[in-house]
């Protein structure tokens, strides 16, 4: 993985000392809250419902074991013994004291981590496919490009005060695991007819109160032009994006107002002026970054491991986990392991300090010292020998990290919601907990099959509800929490936004409502090969409306 050079180390160290000074001045009364707020936000420090919250960047989701151990230490010493992995591959601590935050940042700097680009109207922490560099279906490793984008974007003077926050995602495989179509800029590594790799560039996607699927403004961008092209997009947005209305300030609104084609032309015009300037990437620089992500020394192993096969035959629980939570590795004899942070009744994405320490130990023992954080709020061991899988599974199981539910209805994405968040209208986590208990039977999960359920506690959509196959949005109705349900969303190559099924459900009614939706699907699908999403696309919303609210005439009468 990438290691800091002297420049990286210096700017992070200086940033810690700057923030230490700012906190000292705030506590001494030399800065007012109005003056201090933008400074703390630029260091990832929010003020939430019950306490401060510190959001720490995990660039493109990659962590080494030393960094994970440091997060465990911070959780134990400065927080309440746990952290929350987020949908942007970051981690949040929910209870830090203001005076401790500079020390926390210093601890992070010691392991090449920080909280820069986790808040404010800047280019945020870049996200990427969690299986980068190891997936069997990958065209090219997106981490190299995510790192190049990180270096270009950090403290970029022209883009430190954008109209609004700006999120970039990179994926390197045809199977989009980074949700690039719902990002401000989404980069897909593609191959052209000549066999060269480059980028398909998507802009103007996003969720929040105005969910929009982005548009592809360039089908193939040669790699050496990546930064100049991104600069052209950002410059066009920075000049023309609205600053008069926070709800109209994201690039998606500008792209919609301008038209995708016209916006693309404006970017191309700007790009022509700068494409051969200082941002042109020399091959030597690409190669330099590439070397940080050189494949580790894999052992030459047969792809079929007899011990692994035997363990599966002897232990059905292990066999099920292996079937559900493993992903094909590009190297024979190895597997990609997904450790679920969604145990039955758990808070999605939460991990205790003890669990973090265990994940670090297991990374060292079984995965060449590295883990990944996924935007689905799980943890990945990218490099595990198949012969080690049974031992790894046993250790994970002992810490409730081996739930076999990857990609199933209980693998829920959930924002912190009204249990923590200042912006939320309703709680997310308790709904996720009840759903995961309701849908805990493995046979039921298998019967339902591939189903993504995402929950957001407010319209800002941190829980990505618009792109869940089933989405749940918490709303406030006169001081009471209600939940609006959508069906048919997807964040993948076939990206789509969910459609609302009808009136929102109360806290008591939301789990039965989801159960009704699932039963409607199971009763009406053509066969098991028709996934929930396929069924919604074929049948539309009406069967769910009817099952939830009664036949159409009755609904009309009730409305009248």
């Amino acid at each position: 993985m990438y290691r800091y050079d002297e420049f990286d180390a210096t700017i992070v160290r200086e940033r810690v000392e700057q923030f230490r000074g700012q906190v000292t001045r705030r506590l001494a009364g030399e800065l007012t809250e109005d003056q201090f707020r933008p400074l703390r936000l630029k260091n990832g420090l929010y003020l939430q419902l019950h306490a401060y919250m510190l959001r720490i960047a995990v660039p493109y989701g990659v962590l080494n074991s030393k960094q994970m151990r440091k997060l465990a230490h911070i959780a134990r010493r400065y927080d309440r013994g746990f952290g929350h992995f987020t949908t942007r591959q970051n981690i949040q601590f929910n209870w830090p004291q203001l005076g401790d935050v500079p020390d926390i940042l210093q601890h992070l700097a010691e392991v090449e981590m920080h909280a820069i680009q986790t808040s404010g109207n800047c280019i945020r922490n870049v996200t990427a496919d969690q299986f980068a560099g190891v997936a069997a279906d990958e065209i090219e490793d997106p981490r190299i490009w995510a790192e190049i984008v990180r270096q270009w974007s950090t403290f970029h003077p022209e883009f430190s005060y954008l109209p609004r926050k700006f999120k970039i995602a990179v994926t390197g495989a045809p199977d989009d695991r980074a949700a690039v179509r719902v990002h401000d800029i989404g980069l897909r590594i593609v191959q052209n007819e000549a066999g060269e790799t480059g980028f398909e560039v998507w802009v103007g996607g996003g969720l929040g109160r105005t969910p929009i699927i982005g548009v592809a403004i360039r089908k193939f961008l040669p790699k050496e032009h990546l930064l100049s092209y991104l600069e052209a997009i950002l410059r066009t947005y920075n000049l023309l994006g609205r600053r008069d209305n926070i709800y109209k300030a994201r690039i998606k609104i500008l792209v919609q107002a301008t038209g995708g084609e016209k916006f693309g032309q404006m970017v191309e015009e700007e790009w022509e002026k700068i494409k051969d300037g200082p941002l042109h990437l020399p091959q030597a620089e690409i190669d330099r970054i590439h070397r940080y992500f050189a494949p580790p020394a894999y052992e030459a192993l047969p792809d079929v491991d007899p011990a692994f096969e035997t363990a599966k035959l002897e232990n059905p629980d292990f066999a099920r986990w292996a079937r559900v939570n493993l992903v094909k590795h590009k190297v024979p004899g190895y597997a990609i392991v997904n450790a679920s942070l969604k145990p039955e009744g758990g808070a999605p994405g939460d991990a205790s300090a003890d669990q973090m320490d265990l994940l670090a130990d297991l990374a060292d023992k079984f995965s060449l010292g590295e883990v990944r954080v996924t935007h689905h709020q799980n943890i990945v061991f990218p490099n595990v020998r198949k012969r080690d899988l049974f031992a790894l599974w046993q250790r994970l199981k002992s810490a409730r990290l081996a739930t076999s539910n990857l990609g199933f209805i209980s693998d829920i994405i959930a924002c912190p919601g009204l249990d923590y968040c200042n912006l939320a209208n309703a709680r997310s986590i308790p709904v996720a907990q009840r759903l995961s208990r309701h849908f805990s039977d493995p046979r039921k999960l298998d019967e339902i099959g591939d189903l993504r359920l995402n929950i957001s506690g407010c319209i800002n959509a941190c829980g990505h509800h618009h792109v869940g196959h089933i989405g749940i949005l918490g709303v406030d109705k006169q001081g009471q929490e209600f939940y609006q349900v959508t069906v048919g969303g997807s964040s993948k190559d076939d990206a789509s936004l969910g459609k609302i099924v009808g009136a929102a459900f109360s806290e008591d009614d939301i789990v039965p409502a989801i159960d009704t939706i699932i039963n409607t699907y199971l009763a009406n699908r053509t066969d098991r090969s028709e996934r929930f999403l396929d069924y919604v696309r074929r049948a539309g919303v009406d069967p769910f409306k009817e099952a939830l609210y009664g036949p159409a005439p009755a609904r009309r009468t009730a409305a009248e």
């Binding site: 705030r26 506590l27 009364g29 809250e33 003020l47 939430q48 419902l49 019950h50 306490a51 401060y52 309440r80 013994g81 746990f82 929910n94 209870w95 004291q97 203001l98 005076g99 942070l341 145990p343 009744g345 758990g346 808070a347 939460d350 991990a351 205790s352 669990q355 810490a399 409730r400 009204l418 249990d419 923590y420 939320a424 209208n425 309703a426 709680r427 986590i429 308790p430 907990q433 406030d476 001081g479 009471q480 929490e481």
Partner: protein, 104 residues
């Protein structure tokens, strides 16, 4: 409709903990210590007074919120303020989830 009674809350500067403005012009983490203002005039005046604590670096961002006055005492009318008054998430602690003592 008659205006609801109101209370004043803020977050403490040092740790962000939820606090309530009391009749004695101080701050308490206990919801039940918070003073209730029955009308807009008294609530607005108290809010101005409470902001002295912002200058004194005790709290940040004080604001008024609605409460229903019942025989058992005042109750927040919003889910948000009901949760804040408890100083913790509403779900039970789990192995991988929140633990520890509530600051007070």
């Amino acid at each position: 409709m008659a205006m609801a009674s109101q209370m004043i809350t803020a977050n403490r500067l040092l740790d962000g903990a939820v606090v309530y403005f009391t009749a004695g012009k101080s701050w308490s983490p206990n919801f039940t210590d918070g003073a209730v203002w029955p009308d807009k005039e008294s609530a607005d005046a108290a809010l101005i007074e409470s902001k002295e604590s912002v200058k004194a670096r005790i709290v940040v961002e004080p604001y008024l919120f609605d409460v229903a006055v019942t025989e058992a005492g005042p109750k927040p009318t919003s889910a948000r303020e009901r949760i804040r008054a408890d100083h913790k998430p509403t779900f039970e602690p789990d192995q991988g989830s929140w633990t520890g003592q509530i600051s007070g």
